[in-house]
């Protein structure tokens, strides 16, 4: 008698930049697509983000980084997820990130990185598809 439960996604901002407009736009788009979005606010550390995801039983984490610190922050989140046995959570990101860094980060395990100009619908579809897979592993 399990009821369909909306997908749950953490939208987080890490590092020292105080720009969360992009993150809020994504958060609203995911909400409008029927998901429960947990918004953590600015200046989160990788530890805080992963603890939040665990307590909230999140299906995904979207991390926005505009400060240029993406090559340190994304890997730190991956590390935390692995350390907590939580690497089944779909981890994706966004920000002004050069193509070679995008390639390197996705190689290391970030599931997707959306750079400015990515259509909102593409992000929504990605989250729905990948987080949906996590919910119902290929039956």
């Amino acid at each position: 008698m399990a009821l369909d439960r909306p997908l749950r996604v953490i939208v987080a901002k890490a590092g020292l930049d105080g720009h969360d407009r992009g993150a809020k736009v994504i958060a609203r788009a995911l909400r409008d697509a029927g998901m429960e979005v947990i918004y953590t606010g600015l200046f989160q550390t990788p530890e805080q983000i992963v603890q939040t995801a665990i307590q909230e039983d999140a299906d995904g984490i979207g991390l926005s980084i505009l400060s240029g610190a993406h090559m340190t922050l994304f890997p730190l989140v991956l590390e935390q997820l692995a350390a907590q046995g939580a690497d089944d959570i779909v981890f994706f990101g966004g920000g002004t990130i050069p193509p070679e860094d995008v390639e390197e980060l996705t190689k290391r395990g970030v599931r997707a990185i959306f750079t400015p100009g990515a259509p909102l619908q593409e992000i929504v579809d990605f989250v729905r598809r990948e987080c949906g897979k996590r919910r119902a592993p290929a039956a």
């Binding site: 369909d4 909306p6 909400r31 409008d32 029927g34 307590q55 909230e56 089944d88 996590r134 592993p137």
Partner: protein
């Protein structure tokens, strides 16, 4: 760790005190399928102190929660926070932002925070949050805070889950006055006038007092505490009022009444949830009959309903004595 887990595996992790197991268990509650787990852990419930916090949006409930969590932690208590925010009526999605104010506690292993959306729960929101409270209680958390936006019936129901209910209001806001008028007076054990730094704070206090004069209180008379949640002013006084209320509940024996109320409400929700689903099935079947009038259809549904397979549990289960609530001291 697999996402799909058997109740046994989840129970084992729950007992080993993995936060992830508590998180998964609450998700089950949101899906209306925590029953088997709760039946296993129910015996361990009844020890947590439960504090409800309700009031209009923006009055500072989450900031107050954070300050109260800080206070509880300074006393060495482990804490759970359940934060309920409204869902979008259009998409049923939700933007849950209460955590922003609780960030200072994210890395404290003795604080567990869970955000919940107010729609899409089996048996209503209060069903899922009642389960979440039981689960946090069984997990061994000493104090469980439940924050809801105090605007509707389901929020009032959630407040009833708690042993002590705080109603938070802010000065200079029409919303707060509306809340006072809308029957939320009756559920308050403690009124919190937050943002007491506001010049209209005195007026709001007078307003609350005069509304209170119209009510009859037997036993506990609600306390009124002024706070500034942001800088912690008044939090010790608020804590003192909570302690006084808990002491009153224990000494007067009213604690039993509160528990019974919460229990009755949860059973009511569970039964209602099941009935509603059966009802929906029956009605959609009857609706397929061409040319039937609504009264005949209703008769048909009711007849079908009285003879359902879920209505034949004859014997009532036997209860058990409950542990005393841990004090605050």
């Amino acid at each position: 760790m697999p996402v799909q887990q058997s109740t046994d595996a989840l129970l084992r992790e729950f007992e080993e005190h993995h936060p992830r197991a508590l998180a998964r268990a609450i998700s089950l509650a949101e899906a209306g399928s925590a029953g088997p787990l709760i039946r296993q852990v129910y015996e361990r419930t009844g020890r947590a102190m439960t504090i409800g916090l309700t009031g209009p949006p923006g009055v500072g409930k989450s900031t107050l929660s954070s300050a109260l969590v800080r206070k509880a932690r300074s006393l060495g208590k482990t804490v759970g926070v359940i934060s309920v925010d409204p869902s979008s009526p259009f998409s049923h999605g939700a933007l849950l932002g209460d955590r922003i104010r609780l960030a200072e506690h994210f890395l404290d292993p003795d604080v567990f925070i869970r955000s919940m959306a107010s729609h899409g729960h089996l048996g209503g929101l209060s069903g899922a949050s009642a389960d979440a409270v039981l689960l946090m209680d069984a997990f061994g958390l000493d104090i469980v805070f439940i924050e809801t936006v105090g605007v509707g019936q389901s929020e009032i129901e959630i407040a009833r889950l708690a042993q002590t209910t705080l109603v938070a209001l802010q000065p200079g806001s029409g919303d707060s006055i509306q809340v006072l008028k809308a029957g939320i007076m009756e559920i308050a054990d403690i009124f919190v006038v937050n943002k007491a730094d506001h010049p209209m704070a005195g007026q709001l206090r007078r307003e609350i007092r005069s509304m209170m004069e119209m009510l009859d209180f037997s036993g506990w008379v609600p306390e009124l505490v002024a706070t500034q949640a942001l800088d912690g002013t008044g939090i010790n006084e608020l804590w003192g009022a909570i302690e006084a209320h808990v002491a009153y509940l224990n000494e007067s024996g009213e604690i039993e009444e509160r528990r019974r109320e919460a229990f009755v409400q949860q059973v009511h929700q569970l039964v209602l949830g099941r009935l509603e689903r059966r009802l929906a099935r029956s009605i959609s079947q009857v609706a397929l009959c061409a040319g039937i009038d609504p009264y005949a259809a209703a008769e048909g549904v009711l007849r079908q309903f009285g003879a359902g397979e879920e209505s034949d549990d004859a014997a009532l289960p036997v209860g058990r004595p409950r542990a005393a609530v841990k004090g605050l001291a």
